[in-house]
């Protein structure tokens, strides 16, 4: 792969050369060079852990590279703090928004600027700016009262208010419906038309094709190549990104698990629940999962999927409705009840909820079984059993760890997930609730985890797979349940899955 041969018409807006950044045990960026032209949307494509975030964090002054230089408009600059980057016209919209929830929109936008504080003037300015770019939000509203989409607008307004010439967006569509995403793309196009540059970080090929002028692909911390979007295809980009042809797809699944239609391992009836902030998150959810069946729950983040998983597993109180496990009604106020009924749960925040990060691997492996023999007898722990159990599971699930006593947080993401799966699959579960089980993993680990989910179904478990990755849902599941605003917006059976239709359901448009 080579960089384009034509010389750029003007000095590049950004030229990063030879960027190297190490973290303990990880070479996050290895001699990466990256160029952004004025007036282009430049996609930065790569799997999780490919080094995209590290590279842009260098550009916004958050990380200092161990080697390498940054030039803006042909002039070398030092970006030793976010303030420097902002002063040089670089603005970033992080995936996790950088907003102070207790402050107003205006206070958030003017944060970090100098001079006397004139909130009234700033409010007017922000209102005007919002109208100009079609990014309407109330400047006096407190940020915690805004929806996720509105918060993203605040983030973009923040960069515009500082007159950023270079706008970096980190996976901006993760929180948007496909329709909202297209509106965002229009805004971005109008911004580059005015001479700004946009860096668009993503791992979704179709989006990259739709919005960008050029694409730079990172893999394992290296720049694999920069190509003109018009001169490439999704297939080529995928190959560059993954380093080989194979991408997991539905066709790869041979001997799909057999579904036992007579056995309903999970049935929810009219579920209602609030989210952590006390807002209604579930408004009457009915669904069924049969033994041996994989049901994917898709939707834009924040439409109740997370709460659904928590209610089923007893970690969130339901206000109304029923959860039946294998036909048996549950009380649903105590996770122990569901554990005893055979509900395995891979929570969204696997390292801090599914596992105790500083506790050892061996302790995490008995996190749910420590109460009974053989892990304990009477009030006392059986250390010998705990050690032996860890040895067995580490071998069976091929968990890469220095030892059973290593704190779990020191393991790589894929191995953390294996620890969790190993524990959840021991015993005799009948239902597996998995929330975003592959998010943030590298390609190899994703395949392992997907394989384990299929294995679970083959063993006769019902699997409820909650995922924001539509492709994953389509590839793995027998049925897709789309959630929108706490309700089931539609159910699409396997084979009839149509991305556009699902997208409309996800946006509540059907």
């Amino acid at each position: 792969m080579s960089t384009p041969t034509l010389p750029p018409p003007a000095p590049p807006a950004v030229l990063m050369s030879g960027i190297t950044k190490r973290f303990p045990g990880v070479l996050a960026n290895d001699d990466v060079s990256f160029e952004i032209r004025p007036g282009e949307v430049h996609a930065l494509l790569g799997e999780n852990g490919a080094g995209k975030s590290t590279l842009v964090n260098v550009l916004i002054g958050l990380y200092r590279p161990d080697a390498g230089t940054v030039q803006l408009d042909g002039t070398r600059v030092e970006l030793s703090s976010p303030g420097d980057a902002i002063a040089h016209g670089i603005g970033m919209v992080h995936q996790h928004f950088r907003l102070v929830p207790t402050f107003t929109v205006t206070e958030n936008i003017i944060l970090g600027r100098q001079g006397p504080l004139k909130l009234r003037d700033a409010e007017e300015r922000i209102r005007a700016l919002g109208e100009q770019f079609g990014l309407a939000v109330d400047p006096t509203a407190k940020v915690w009262q805004l929806s996720v989409g509105e918060q993203q607008r605040v983030e973009i307004l923040k960069t515009l208010e500082r007159d950023a010439k270079i706008l970096i967006l980190d996976e901006p569509t993760a929180v948007l419906t496909p329709q909202e995403a297209h509106a965002l793309f229009d805004t971005l196009r109008s911004m580059v038309a005015g001479g700004r540059s946009v860096v668009f970080i993503s791992h979704k090929l179709d989006e990259v094709m739709a919005v960008s002028d050029r694409v730079t692909v990172l893999r394992d911390g290296r720049n694999v190549g920069t190509v003109e979007t018009a001169a490439t295809s999704q297939r080529d980009l995928a190959r560059m990104m993954v380093g080989r042809d194979v991408v997991f797809s539905a066709d790869d699944v041979e001997d799909r698990p057999a579904i036992d239609h007579d056995r309903v391992v999970l049935r929810t009836v009219d579920l209602h629940a609030d989210d952590a902030r006390g807002r209604r998150a579930l408004r009457g959810v009915d669904l069924e999962v049969h033994a041996g069946e994989i049901v994917a729950v898709c939707g834009v983040a924040g439409n109740g999927q997370r709460e659904l998983a928590e209610v089923i597993c007893g970690t969130r109180r339901r206000l109304k409705g029923q959860v039946l496990i294998d036909g048996r009604p549950t009380v649903g106020t105590d996770p122990r009840e569901l554990i005893a009924l055979g509900v395995a749960h891979i929570p969204e925040d696997r390292l801090h909820t599914g596992l105790s990060p500083s506790a050892s691997v061996e302790h995490n492996l008995v996190l749910k079984s420590y109460r009974h023999a053989p892990a304990s007898s009477g009030p006392f722990l059986n250390h010998r059993y705990i050690r032996r159990n860890a040895g067995e599971l580490i071998e069976r699930f091929d968990i890469k760890t220095p030892g059973p006593q290593t704190p779990t947080r020191l393991l790589s993401g894929g191995n953390v997930q294996k620890v969790l799966l190993a524990r959840e699959m021991t015993g005799t579960p009948i239902l597996l609730v998995a929330a975003s089980p592959t998010r943030g993993l590298d390609v190899g680990a994703i395949e392992v985890v997907r394989g384990l989910l299929l294995d679970a179904a083959r063993r006769g478990l019902g699997v409820l797979l909650i995922t924001e990755d539509l492709e994953e849902g389509i590839a793995l599941s027998d049925r897709i349940v789309v959630m929108y605003e706490g309700q089931v917006a539609g159910v699409v059976p396997r084979g009839a899955a149509d991305v556009i239709e699902i997208g409309l359901l996800m946006g509540g448009k059907a």
Partner: protein, 318 residues
């Protein structure tokens, strides 16, 4: 209650409330930046002993010596705070433990007592802050003793309450300070120097606690005693919560505390028998009650507890 009794109580409320007001104001600023400093007691004692030394040993006109004493007290308090700041901001030591360690290091049986011994501070200080007669109005009814017959330190505290309120809620620096306490990640991304903001406000907090100590050694108890602040540093920490992290309400809390602290003496002098311990305990009970009331996410958001209070900020972690 007749006006006379009210005035007596109010005057002593101000008298006993002033040192905790200073220390509480300082702690408000420190906590607003996200740093919890439980070393207030130690910093107050450092301020007290330094001012005591200055007043006893430094020659020159009284006003100059007093001014120097206050400055020295502030510097000593800030120095104590610097230890805490280095430990918790740079080294990210647990803030509770570090603050307690500071109190032990500098406190009643620690460095302040050591200094007093080495400096041989045995006699009453030579200069102290007396009550002024502003505009000759000290004998005016009710308002005279309250507003026109206070020590310079009390007037200074009033100025500081106003200044801190203005600073926190009306200036850009105050906005940045609050952002650092609420969400250091956001503040950092917006180009605000989180580390510097926290250092600066921890040091200011120490300096204010130092003045609180000066109130003791140069006004309330003008002869050095080990541990002369008698636990008021802890009251200051409680005041911050009681005052919802706001300077104005902290002042109300400080004077309420002062009133309770003096009430039993006042009442006793008038033949009313109340166990002083009961009244002394009231501020603590009230603090617990307030704390219970502000517990829970909703109330915290509304009432101002900085969301990042007590949490070290670490930028470069994966």
């Amino acid at each position: 209650m007749n006006a006379n009794l009210f005035v007596v109580i109010a005057v002593s409320a101000i008298y006993y409330g002033t040192p905790v007001l200073f220390a509480g104001l300082g702690e408000v600023l420190t906590e607003r930046s996200g740093v919890l400093n439980l070393g207030v007691e130690g910093m107050m004692l450092l301020g007290a002993v330094s001012a005591s030394w200055c007043s006893a040993r430094v020659g020159g006109p009284g006003w100059l010596v007093l001014a120097l004493s206050v400055l020295l007290g502030m510097a000593a308090g800030a120095l104590g705070a610097l230890i805490h700041a280095f430990a918790v901001i740079t080294l990210r030591v647990n803030q509770t433990v570090s603050g307690l360690a500071l109190t032990i290091l500098a406190g009643a049986a620690g460095f302040s007592s050591y200094l007093a011994n080495v400096w041989e501070l045995k006699n009453p200080v030579r200069h102290q802050f007396g009550k002024l007669d502003v505009l000759g109005l000290k004998d005016a009814p009710v308002l005279g003793p309250l507003l026109f017959n206070q020590t310079l330190l009390t007037y200074l505290s009033w100025v500081l309450v106003a200044a801190c309120s203005w600073y926190l809620f009306r200036t850009r620096a105050g906005l940045h300070l609050r952002a650092v306490g609420e969400s250091p990640q956001t503040a950092d991304a917006m180009g605000i120097n989180v580390v510097r903001t926290r250092y600066v406000h921890t040091l200011i907090g120490g300096a204010f606690a130092g003045i609180g100590g000066v109130c003791f050694s140069l006004s309330i108890v003008p002869t050095w005693q080990d541990g002369m602040t008698a636990g008021r540093g802890w009251i200051a920490i409680a005041l911050v919560i009681f005052g919802f992290w706001r300077p104005d309400l902290t002042m109300v809390g400080a004077y309420l505390f002062g009133a309770f602290a003096s009430l039993s003496l006042t009442l006793q002098a008038r033949g009313v028998k109340v166990a002083p311990q009961l009244l002394d305990s009231l501020p603590y009970v009230m603090t617990i009650v307030v704390l219970v009331m502000v517990s829970g996410g909703w109330a915290k958001r509304r009432l101002g507890a900085p969301a990042a209070l007590g949490i070290p900020y670490e930028r470069e972690e994966r």
